[in-house]
């Protein structure tokens, strides 16, 4: 019943102090000092920034980086069991975003001021494809916020704490994630 105990402690209102603490964890620092190779790629840097615009950190609100939104997205779309269409679509969308940004500002999305980044997203959702792209990114952000930390987002349950959500139990084991269970549909 230790899991129950943990749930109890999660069920309190999310304090800003805890978020500050979370932002300074050693793991976070280590990741910041030695980020994974894919994080250096410009497409992922752009995606991480778009996620921050879509889900910004606030004093007592965990933002995209706090919840590990880009790590979650990377895990999700690089998963060989995932729907490959999502990855293609998301990467193509970064191309449109860059194109529009260059056209309007002669700069990359990352070089824009926050207000300009917001305006670019507002422009993008005016087209059907652009809206679908942002919608898909939002879904992955919400998954990062609220799925079990085993998938790489929702660090230390930060999303659950913020929304006072009590997760169910038992929580998924590392060797029983959805993609591993899915493979059992194909193998004797």
């Amino acid at each position: 019943m230790t899991r129950m105990g943990l749930l109890g402690s999660l069920a309190v209102t999310y304090p800003a102090a805890a978020l500050a603490e979370l932002r300074l964890t050693k793991a976070e620092q280590a990741l910041a000092d030695h980020p994974a190779e894919w994080m250096q790629e410009s497409v992922w840097k752009t995606l991480a920034q778009v996620q921050e615009v879509l889900f910004p950190a606030g004093e007592d609100i965990p933002g995209a980086a706090d919840i590990g939104a880009s790590i979650y997205l990377h895990n999700a779309i690089e998963n060989p069991n995932a729907d490959g269409d999502d990855k293609d679509f998301i990467f193509r969308g970064v191309g449109w975003l860059d194109g529009l940004t260059q056209q309007r500002h002669k700069k990359s999305f990352l070089q824009l001021m926050p207000q300009q980044q917001e305006e670019i997203i507002q422009a993008i959702v005016k087209s059907r494809a652009g809206r679908n792209w942002v919608s898909m990114l939002l879904t992955y952000i919400l998954e990062a916020l609220l799925t079990d930390p085993v998938y790489g987002g929702n660090k230390n349950g930060v999303g659950w704490q913020w929304l006072e959500h009590q997760p169910g139990y038992p929580a998924p084991a590392a060797d029983k994630t959805w993609d591993q269970l899915l493979q059992r549909r194909y193998k004797a």
């Binding site: 609100i61 916020l145 006072e164 038992p170 004797a188």
Partner: protein, 562 residues
């Protein structure tokens, strides 16, 4: 390969009782299940696995249905679910969708067995009486209470069906504080608040533990074994007799029949995609209604030119869903004192309440006495993602940034949501049936089921009548933001019919024993047999009928029944 006495296709609520009964009697039984074999150690409260990825159901790109609905001009138009994303699968794994049910269990009532005699014909609907009575099924409803494990507390009320035992073998599961508030409101309104019987153990039974009250029940596999799935409650015992083999990842594509019309083998693809065949004396089909009809229609033979057991042309006809609708109401924490708010936030125990006060409706406005339905009350499912993802839309516009975060915070932390679900008869009509699609094929190259999903307007009339009254209960309870929906859209998880049983071989597929009229060694034991649905969820009736048919099959195998 070994010859078996009985080969069962499908391991859900229709297959499990037959496997257990016949294996216990010493007959050799093989169960072919197209999905994998998960057990308690594989079930976690993981919303991705249960509800957002295809773990328990096939990928729609590999296996789909074609759904036929009317377009704006009233023409029937088919669309593959691989295009629409409208998933009609309900749990393809050992134990079937009973692994994923919420387990609110209601019996049918005696009148449900003779709707035509009781209420007369309805134009445009194929209402008939059943070839058996409630009294014949009653001992098996009682058997299910014990074998599957149903918890509850019998409460007499004007529409209570007769029962042969005094009360349920397991006391009710723990109940949410809101249940008392519901009881009081119903008392004030002169309604009969009923404890909902549940196929969930409130104390241990053999290897199965009691419910552990995580609060995430429906849509999830049960890690404690408390949920009375066919797998947890029946198949484990069947295998323990050493007379029952379960073969997962075996997809039966055809039942081959001989020159006399008897089934000789079940032909299937194994996990490697290789064709295999199993011989048995007797075959039992229980793949859930749509796939059962599809398998029979696909299984042509020398005596079955239009599909197995289909010399009447009735296979696939009179498919049933469940009519009705649902409603939600919010109870805002800000309107309560702290103690009441804390109680309202309780997660885990069940609401466990239902109403059958409108099971029959006698109202001039409805044209006299008509059949109504059952209402179940429950908390909104605590799934976080389904709640969160809906917040990203404001009509057709996307919401992000602070606006999104504000909505999320409100949806998650402002209120508890109570919900009702209305179950009414889905009238059988000529516009709701299963056939084979001419063009769309699954990954093995077999034609997929095409499902026409027409409904009868009468269903909406009944649904709306009950909905209005439920909405009043919510108002009286002090709920806010009450929203409800009654529509003719089929709930794909509540499906039956397609192989109705009856005395007349011209108008039904199965006889009263659920044996095919024109195939002496073929039985159907899932919900397909039901000629009318009744106004409760189907699973208890499917379990009970499968136990009943299993007894008939046992008598046939032992030579005491022809």
């Amino acid at each position: 390969m070994k010859d078996y006495d009985v080969c069962i296709i499908g391991s859900g609520a229709g297959g499990g009782p037959v496997a257990l009964t016949l294996a216990k009697a010493g007959y050799s039984v093989v169960v072919l299940e197209k999905g994998p074999w998960f057990d308690e150690k594989d079930f976690y409260k993981d919303e991705l696995a249960c509800c957002r990825r295809s773990v328990y159901t096939p990928k729609l790109s590999e296996e789909q249905h074609v759904i036929e609905d009317t377009d704006s001009e009233g023409n029937w138009v088919g669309e593959a679910t691989s295009d629409s994303g409208w998933d009609f699968w309900n749990g393809n794994c050992v134990g079937g969708s009973s692994n994923l049910m919420s387990g609110f269990f209601y019996r049918l009532k005696p009148v449900d067995f003779r709707l035509l005699s009781e209420f007369g014909p309805i134009e445009g609907a194929n209402v008939v009486d059943w070839p058996i009575s409630y009294e014949e099924l009653e001992p098996y409803y009682t058997m299910v209470e014990k074998e599957v494990g149903i918890s509850g507390r019998f409460t007499d009320h004007p529409y209570a069906e007769p029962r042969s035992s005094k009360d349920f073998p397991y006391p009710p599961t723990q109940e949410h504080p809101i249940s008392r508030q519901f009881d009081k409101t119903c008392d004030d309104m002169g309604l009969h608040s009923l404890p909902t019987p549940r196929a969930i153990l409130s104390r241990a039974k053999g290897d199965r533990r009691s419910c552990e009250y995580s609060g995430f029940c429906g849509s999830y596999g049960c890690s404690s074994g408390a949920k009375g799935s066919s797998r947890a409650a029946l198949l484990g015992q069947a295998v323990a007799t050493q007379h029952c083999e379960i073969k997962p990842l075996c997809k039966v594509y055809k039942l081959s029949s001989d020159a006399k019309g008897k089934v000789v083998s079940a032909d299937y693809y194994d996990a490697k995609g290789e064709q295999q065949s199993i011989k048995a004396k007797l075959f039992v089909v229980a793949c859930q209604a749509i796939e059962t009809s599809r398998l029979l229609l696909s299984s042509t033979g020398p005596k079955h030119l239009h599909g197995l057991a289909n010399n009447s042309g009735q296979v696939g006809k009179n498919l049933l869903f469940s009519a009705g609708g649902s409603g939600n109401g919010d109870f805002k924490y800000a309107d309560m004192d702290e103690q009441a708010a804390d109680a309202m936030k309780t997660r885990g125990p069940f609401v466990n309440r239902g109403l059958q006060d409108w099971y029959f409706i006698d109202d001039k406005a409805m044209g006299g006495r008509v059949k109504g339905g059952t209402v179940d009350f429950l908390l909104r499912h605590p799934n976080a993602l389904s709640k969160a993802v809906s917040t990203k839309w404001d009509g057709d516009d996307l919401v992000w940034g602070r606006g999104l975060q504000k909505k999320l915070k409100s949806v998650f932390t402002d209120s508890q949501t109570l919900r009702y679900e209305i179950f009414c008869d889905w009238l059988p009509t000529d516009d709701c049936f299963v056939s084979l699609d001419n063009t769309v094929k699954d990954k093995w190259g077999s034609p997929v089921a095409k499902v026409r999903i027409g409904y009868h307007e009468h269903d909406l009339k009944i649904g709306n009548y009950i909905n209005e009254r439920c909405s009043n209960v919510f108002k009286k309870m002090g709920a806010t933001n009450i929203r409800s929906n009654v529509s003719g859209a089929p709930p794909q998880n509540l499906v039956a019919g397609g192989c109705r049983f009856g005395h007349d071989a011209k108008t039904s597929v199965l006889n009263a024993d659920c044996r095919a009229h024109d195939v002496e060694n073929l039985y159907v034991t899932d919900g397909s047999f039901m000629p009318t649905g009744g106004s409760v969820p189907y699973t208890w009736t499917i379990y009970a009928n499968a136990f009943r048919v299993a007894d008939r099959i046992k008598d046939v195998l032992s030579g005491t029944r022809g």
